[in-house]
């Protein structure tokens, strides 16, 4: 069972490496690219969270839930 899952993951990992051409590069290059991928992902995430979210919120007139909680919190206090 476990073996099956490992095999399945290995196979699709191999297919993933193949379509991104990472199959034929050296190990450290593979790691570098994945680190770059991860950094890019984090940057995007942060950007979306901090900029895009409040921006769309402003445009659509939605108050973010965190602000509401903060307000509630301050009322109680």
């Amino acid at each position: 069972m476990l073996q099956n899952i490992i095999d399945f993951c290995n196979y699709w990992w191999f297919r993933y490496l193949m379509v991104t051409e990472l199959y034929m590069v050296e190990k450290w290059e593979r790691v570098t690219i994945h680190v770059i991928f991860a950094v890019l992902f984090c940057l995007f995430w942060y950007f979306n969270y901090s900029v895009l979210l409040s921006f769309t919120g402003n445009i659509l007139g939605i108050t973010p839930i965190s602000t509401i909680i903060d307000q509630q919190g301050s009322k109680i206090a």
Binding site: Y11, R15, L17, M18, V19, T20, E21, L22, Y23, M24, V25, E26, E29, T32, I33
Partner: protein
């Protein structure tokens, strides 16, 4: 290099048809002409530039109509089949041309790449480039440093060397593999390993016997035994290995003269001339035929030797889309009407159409009858490179000319090589006596290059006589039939598997699209472990997008060998994900 993206254009707008399916329909109707509307039109789409567009160009050839009426009776008797009597094609009526265009469309397939694969291929390529730059920044490879060159500019510095260092080098084990046997139906590879990711290789001392799906040994004449080899050996013992002189000095023997005569007879033309090298036949004879002020219309997929010859000649070259008659006619008409802009619109000195019989990377066959009609209409000359088609195509092995049953005299210059079907070396040019005499006095390859080695000439002579049946056996004919059968079977089985193959169903060159560099590498490596040797082709031989595996079939292959190969290919295309095709697949088993 320049057209990284542009090349797809010609391919993409070719046609996408399920040839098997259409043929099947045709048989049902007992009709050789594809009637598209009857054949499940939902699945079959004619592209814009497919046969629909060609209808317009199939106009009667001026002045030919009169002749047609006298000759059309013979054609009608032959009804749809290619007339064995070759003179009829000269008088092809318009309707016939239309049928031919349709037939070509149904038999040729250039399936488009799925969108996500296209995106991934570009993404992967950019990743490789980025990694290459990072790599180059961090570690300057030894080969990239040019030492002891203070004050000099760098000698080797181009995108090409970057490309070969950081893309090609990574899968370099799949190319330039040394072999140590005759490249017959099987071939022995010399094993090697790399410990530094392709920068250098060490031989392990072992060998791998592989089924050979890579060599251009179409008729299986590449052999160390048998009548051809024996006669060549005898000739070598009598005459040595080299003539050490050019043809116009002391390099002509009776053997050369006989070979030229036999070649002319084989092709059904007046005369022929042979050269020691196929590549040089193109590269060195084109400059003697054309000069600045001439116009050449060259197919975009033409071979490097042709392109080199055209550059040497200094003639103006216009490239037309691969096998696209509409584009060819457009360029032709424009240039006939407007003339040479550099000479103030005066007519071009000559106009030459330059095509190949079978295109070695696309697996497609030239649309010869239509080109001949166009050439006659606009009074242009036609140069046909039959390197891959001679011997391999046509009921008598006479190349594309024989395959379409056209009159060889309609092609002004017939060129071909002996390196492929004949299992030898060298090339020929055949045509009218005047053309050949002209070349005998003007061709650089004839006057300055050393003449063909006698055992090489003997090999061609023997194999050609065998194909023609002059040796009193039907070995040649059997080989031709075997190749045709192998081709059909192999192509249809691949189509049934669901991989994308390019080209014409009768062409023995079968490119299978895998798109990505990694997949080229993985397929070649995996197939080698399963004892099958194939050739992977990638950029720069193809557009970046279209990495492919090329199978070359041979009359030497048996059905069992092909079955083995096909089973393995089926298996690995599942595991590696090569089944890109979205065409309907033939549900029934395919007969050999």
């Amino acid at each position: 290099m320049g057209n990284l993206y542009g090349d797809n254009g010609g391919v993409v707008q070719e046609h996408q048809q399920n040839s098997d399916f259409v043929n099947y329909c045709n048989k049902m109707q007992g009709n050789l002409v594809a009637d598209m509307s009857n054949c499940g039109s939902g699945d079959l789409r004619a592209r814009k530039n497919g046969f629909k567009a060609n209808e317009t160009e199939a106009k009667p050839v001026n002045g030919c109509l009169k002749n047609c009426s006298t000759n059309s009776t013979t054609c009608q008797q032959a009804k749809g089949k290619v007339c064995p009597n070759s003179s009829q094609a000269l008088l092809t009526p318009a309707k016939k041309l239309k049928e031919l265009a349709e037939e070509h469309t149904t038999k040729t397939s250039f399936e488009e790449v799925p969108l996500h694969t296209a995106c991934l291929t570009y993404l992967g390529f950019y990743l490789l480039m980025i990694l290459g730059y990072i790599n180059q920044l961090l570690f300057v490879p030894k080969v990239a440093k040019e030492e002891n060159r203070d004050g000099y500019v760098t000698l080797y510095d181009a995108f090409e060397s970057f490309y070969s260092r950081y893309v090609y080098r990574r899968v370099r084990d799949c190319w330039n593999r040394p072999i140590c046997s005759v490249p017959g139906d099987e071939v022995t590879l010399k094993d090697r390993v790399t410990k530094d990711y392709g920068w250098s290789f060490q031989f392990t001392g072992t060998e791998t016997r592989c089924l050979n799906l890579g060599s251009y040994n179409y008729l299986g004449f590449a052999d160390a035994k048998g009548p051809c080899a024996e006669k060549s050996e005898k000739t070598a013992r009598e005459m040595g290995l080299a003539m050490t002189s050019s043809r116009v000095e002391l390099g002509t023997t009776q053997l050369h003269l006989d070979l030229e005569q036999l070649t002319a007879r084989y092709l059904g033309v007046e005369d022929a001339i042979v050269f020691g090298m196929g590549f040089a036949t193109n590269a060195l004879n084109l400059p003697s035929l054309i000069s600045p002020g001439c116009l050449v219309l060259s197919d975009e997929k033409n071979h490097a030797s042709i392109i080199l010859g055209l550059r040497l000649s200094g003639a103006t070259t216009k490239v037309f889309k691969h096998n696209n008659m509409r584009d060819l006619e457009r360029v032709l008409r424009h240039n006939v009407v407007h003339g040479n802009p550099k000479a103030g619109g005066k007519p071009w000195k000559k106009i030459l159409i330059l095509v190949e019989g079978v295109f070695s990377m696309e697996g497609s066959i030239v649309r010869l009858p239509e080109i001949i009609a166009l050439k006659k209409k606009y009074k242009a000359y036609l140069y046909l490179d039959e390197a891959h088609s001679i011997g391999a195509m046509g009921p008598n092995g006479g190349g594309a000319v024989d395959y379409f049953g056209v009159d060889p005299n309609d092609v002004d210059i017939l060129m071909g090589t002996f390196t492929k079907s004949f299992g030898s070396a060298g090339g020929y040019i055949a045509g009218s006596k005047r053309l050949i005499d002209y070349l005998r006095t003007n061709s650089h390859a004839h006057c300055y290059a050393s003449s063909m080695s006698p055992p090489i000439a003997q090999q061609i002579y023997t194999s050609m006589s065998m194909i023609m049946g002059l040796d009193g056996t039907d070995t040649g004919r059997q080989k031709i039939n075997q190749l045709a059968r192998n081709t059909r079977y192999f192509r249809r089985r691949l189509a049934q598997m669901g991989v994308i193959t390019y080209g014409h169903e009768d062409s023995p060159v079968v490119p299978m699209l895998v798109y990505l560099f990694s997949k080229i590498g993985a397929v070649v490596r995996t197939l080698t472990t399963r004892h099958i040797a194939v050739v992977g082709v990638g950029f720069p031989a193809t557009p970046i997008m279209e990495g492919r595996i090329r199978y070359c079939l041979s009359a030497a292959h048996t059905k069992e060998q092909l079955d083995y190969a096909l089973d393995v290919i089926d298996e690995i295309s599942d595991t590696l994900g090569l089944k890109y095709s979205r065409k309907p697949r033939e549900p029934n088993p395919i007969e050999y």
